[in-house]
Structure formats: structure tokens, C-alpha cells
């Protein structure tokens, strides 16, 4: 029961930190709203574009490479999800798990080498 309480209390602390993290911006920005001037003009509210009149929307298509890097990130981040429990439980698993993990990582490494060869990792 005590451990259960410890568990609950620890996450209560985390919750309080989340609350504080949200409260500070809200309080500070509300206080600022009372204090700061607000005299919007048309010129002030234009988008900045090095001094020229902004043209077109900025919500445009962007380089597809960002997407490919995101895919690579997902692959390797999922790999870490497997590596973390393995590292924590290594003492109980021993040398057999090390060999298994080697095979797992080498397989992903082949994927990285393939991406390397296909010039995915090259920017532009």
C-alpha cells in the first residue's frame, strides 16, 4: 500500500509540474495584456518579408526529404524502444540476449547502409 502511495504521489508531483508549466505562460501573458499597449495598425500586422510586400501564402509544399528523415527517425526510435528494456534487464538475460540484440541491430544497420547507398542521407 505504501509503495502504491509513493507511486501516486510521484505522479502527482509530475502533474503539478505540468500545471505550473501551463499556468506560468497564462498568468504572465494575462498580466502582460493588462500592462502593454495595443494599437494595431494595418502595417504592423503584415507578415515580415525583408521589407517588401509579402506575396502568396507561406503554407506551401516543402522538401520531401523532411518526410524521409521522419521515416528514418521512426525506425530508429522504435529500435530504442526495444533497446531500453534490454539494457535494463541485461543482468538477467546474459550473453544470449547480447547475441540476439547484435542480430537485431545489424539488421537495422543494413537498412541504414541501404539508405546511405541510395543517397537518402544526403541533403539536397
Amino acid at each position: 500500500m505504501e509503495l502504491y502511495h509513493l507511486y501516486q504521489n510521484n505522479y502527482l508531483v509530475v502533474l503539478m509540474f505540468l500545471l505550473l508549466g501551463i499556468l506560468l505562460p497564462i498568468v504572465a501573458l494575462t498580466a502582460g495584456k493588462i500592462l502593454r499597449p495595443a494599437k494595431p495598425t494595418k502595417e504592423k500586422q503584415t507578415t515580415y518579408e525583408s521589407g517588401i510586400e509579402p506575396f502568396h501564402q507561406s503554407w506551401v509544399q516543402y522538401n520531401v526529404r523532411y518526410y524521409i528523415f521522419a521515416l528514418l527517425f521512426v525506425i530508429f526510435d522504435v529500435e530504442t524502444v526495444f533497446l531500453y528494456p534490454w539494457a535494463v534487464a541485461y543482468d538477467k538475460l546474459g550473453i544470449f540476449a547480447l547475441i540476439e540484440m547484435t542480430i537485431f541491430i545489424v539488421m537495422l544497420l543494413i537498412g541504414l547502409l541501404y539508405a546511405w547507398k541510395k543517397k537518402v542521407l544526403k541533403w539536397m
Binding site: E2, H5, L6, Q8, N9, N10, Y11, L12, V13, V14, M16, F17, L18, L19, L20, G21, I22, L24, P25, A28, L29, A31, G32, K33, L35, R36, A38, K42, T46, T47, Y48, E49, P54, S58, W59, Y62, N63, Y66, F69, A70, L72, F73, F76, D77, T80, L83, Y84, A87, V88, A89, Y90, I95, M101, I105, L109, W116, L121, K122, W123, M124
Partner: protein, 333 residues
């Protein structure tokens, strides 16, 4: 006292006390940020043969940052007409909240700690990743070409360097057998992991500078090419929150580096009479100074160098380090 509180059944009183403790840490962190900005300007000034701030608040400019914050508080807050208003206002909050949340698990000394969850390290990594969404959201909602470029660059950089960052700490987890930050510090009682895991330390430092968006990896806000990157349209206190986020992460990252590699509050041999919290503060300050030093020394990297360095150098090295650690563990421990 806090130990008893943690074991008691959760109640409203507990909640209020935790809130108060969290608020006091928040005040401490705000104090740190105020003087970290001043220290950064001062140290960089001296490194570049300048004096740095020296007018407001005595000869050392001690109140310079306070004056800056007050000025920002009184500054008009402009939101561009073309911007996506709700997202534009939400972005600084989403960037800031995780930055403060990660501090909940960081143990500062044997007694000064807040939350002691078993998966502290994983929590830190998972929560700190959320800030990228705030940055990307700010860049996108501004409806500005520079801001969008900065936001996209930031997202690409964050995800590219997060992989080596999380892989480099696997060596530390392997040697400790735990994700709990307190146990990680206790495992370094005899020798700091800096000496057992030098490769992991180097990878971690490089990746953490990239995660902090600091020079030489400050491409998301490169002044000379993107004006200010993702926060170019922000002004006043909303801008201040993006800046605050950066410095709170500096605090968090320096703390986590101290804990993972420099032995946390463990004293140097023969100097055990100095309390743990002072050791923590000393090691922490060294890390912060090192990060400022880097900023004053190195030029910015190119975008293509940045990506290929992360994927082609750091990631294979981090994977190699996992094997070296496993073999070391098999032989010695």
C-alpha cells in the same frame, strides 16, 4: 520530511505542498535563466575582447536581464493578420510546458529531489521531445516563409539528433541496470561514467547541443539567413517564452549531463566534507560554461553537413558504443 510526504496517502494537502515546492523550483529556474543570460553575454563578451552589459545594476550589469524582461512585458504584442491565430497563441505554451515538466524528475542532491519515478530517464527523453511540436507549430502558424523554414529545420534537426542522443545513454543504462536517475547517480559512487563511457559522453554532448539549438547547430534560428527562424513573427512576452524555453532546456540538459556522466552529487575523492548540492552546482556550472564557450568558439554548420554528421557519424558511433559497453560489462562487471 518530503520522504514521509511521498509515502502518505495522496490528499489535497499533498497536492498543495507539491504545488508550492514546484513553484519554488520554478522561481529558482527563472532566477537561473536571468543570470544565465547575463553570464552568457558577459563570458562571450570577455572571450571576444568586449566588456558585455555593464550599465544597468552596477558595474557588472546585474540587473540587465531584469530590465530586458520588464521591457518585453510592456512591449506591444503584434499578431500578423495572415497568421493562424489560435495556433500562434498556443505555440509558446506548448514549447514551454514540457521544458519545465522535465525538471520534475531531476535529483539535485541526496535530499533535494522532486519526483522519484522509476523511469526518470525515459520520461526526460519522451517529454523533452514534445517541445519540437511547439516550435514547429509556431513556425507554421506565423504564415511567414522564414518562420516555416526555421520550424521545418528545427523539426528535422531535433529528430536527427534525438536518435544518437537516446542511443548514447544506453551504455549508461546498461552499466546501471536502471532508468531511475537516482540509481544512476548512486552507481557512480566510485567512478563517474565520464571515464567509463567516454565515447557516449562525446556523442551525448554533441547531440545535446543540437537538441538545444545552440551554436554550432543553431540553424533553426540562424540570424544571417532566416532572420530569427521560427520566432520571427513573435514579439513581446510570447517571444520571451520561446527564449525562456531555450534557457530552461539549458538548465535541464546541463543537469542531466551532470547526472548521467559527471556523477551528480558524488564528491571528488578526499573532498567528501563538501555537501552534495555544492558538488552538483559546481559540475552543473562547468557544463553551462562549456556550452557558452562552444557558442563563442565555433561557427555555424551548413544544413547538409548537419544532417549527414548526425546520421553518418554519430548514429553508427552510438551503435558501436552499445556493443563496447555490453562487452565491457561482460568482462569487468
Amino acid at each position: 520530511m518530503i520522504e514521509e510526504l511521498l509515502y502518505s496517502s495522496p490528499s489535497l494537502t499533498n497536492t498543495l505542498i507539491f504545488f508550492g515546492l514546484g513553484a519554488s523550483l520554478l522561481m529558482m529556474v527563472l532566477g537561473f535563466v536571468t543570470y544565465a543570460i547575463l553570464a552568457e553575454r558577459k563570458v562571450m563578451g570577455f572571450m571576444q575582447l568586449r566588456i558585455g552589459p555593464n550599465r544597468v545594476g552596477g558595474p557588472f550589469g546585474l540587473l540587465q536581464t531584469v530590465a530586458d524582461v520588464l521591457k518585453l512585458l510592456l512591449k506591444e504584442d503584434t499578431i500578423p493578420k495572415a497568421a493562424d491565430r489560435p495556433l500562434f497563441m498556443l505555440a509558446p505554451v506548448i514549447a514551454f510546458a514540457p521544458a519545465f515538466m522535465v525538471l520534475a524528475v531531476i535529483p539535485f542532491s541526496e535530499s533535494l529531489r522532486f519526483s522519484d519515478i522509476g523511469i526518470g530517464l525515459l520520461y526526460y527523453i519522451a517529454i523533452s521531445g514534445i517541445s519540437t511540436i511547439g516550435v514547429l507549430m509556431g513556425g507554421w502558424a506565423s504564415n511567414n516563409k522564414y518562420a516555416l523554414l526555421g520550424g521545418m529545420r528545427s523539426a528535422a534537426q531535433m529528430i536527427s539528433y534525438e536518435v544518437p542522443l537516446v542511443m548514447s545513454v544506453i551504455g549508461v543504462i546498461l552499466l546501471t541496470g536502471s532508468l531511475n536517475l537516482i540509481q544512476i547517480v548512486e552507481a557512480q559512487e566510485n567512478i563517474a561514467f565520464l571515464f567509463v563511457q567516454p565515447l557516449a559522453f562525446v556523442i551525448f554532448m554533441i547531440a545535446s547541443v543540437a537538441e538545444l539549438n545552440r551554436t554550432p547547430f543553431d540553424l533553426p534560428e540562424a540570424e544571417s539567413e532566416l532572420v530569427a527562424g521560427y520566432h520571427v513573427e513573435y514579439s513581446g512576452f510570447r517571444w520571451a517564452f520561446f527564449m525562456l524555453t531555450e534557457y530552461v532546456y539549458l538548465f535541464a540538459m546541463a543537469s542531466i549531463t551532470t547526472i548521467l556522466f559527471l556523477g551528480g552529487w558524488n564528491p571528488v575523492p578526499y573532498l567528501e566534507f563538501i555537501p552534495g548540492i555544492i558538488w552538483f552546482a559546481l559540475k552543473f556550472s562547468v557544463v553551462v560554461f562549456f556550452l557558452i564557450w562552444l557558442r563563442a568558439t565555433l561557427p555555424r554548420m551548413r544544413a547538409d553537413q548537419l544532417m549527414s554528421f548526425g546520421w553518418k557519424v554519430l548514429l553508427p558511433l552510438a551503435l558501436l558504443n552499445i556493443f563496447i559497453s555490453a562487452v565491457i560489462k561482460e568482462i569487468w562487471f
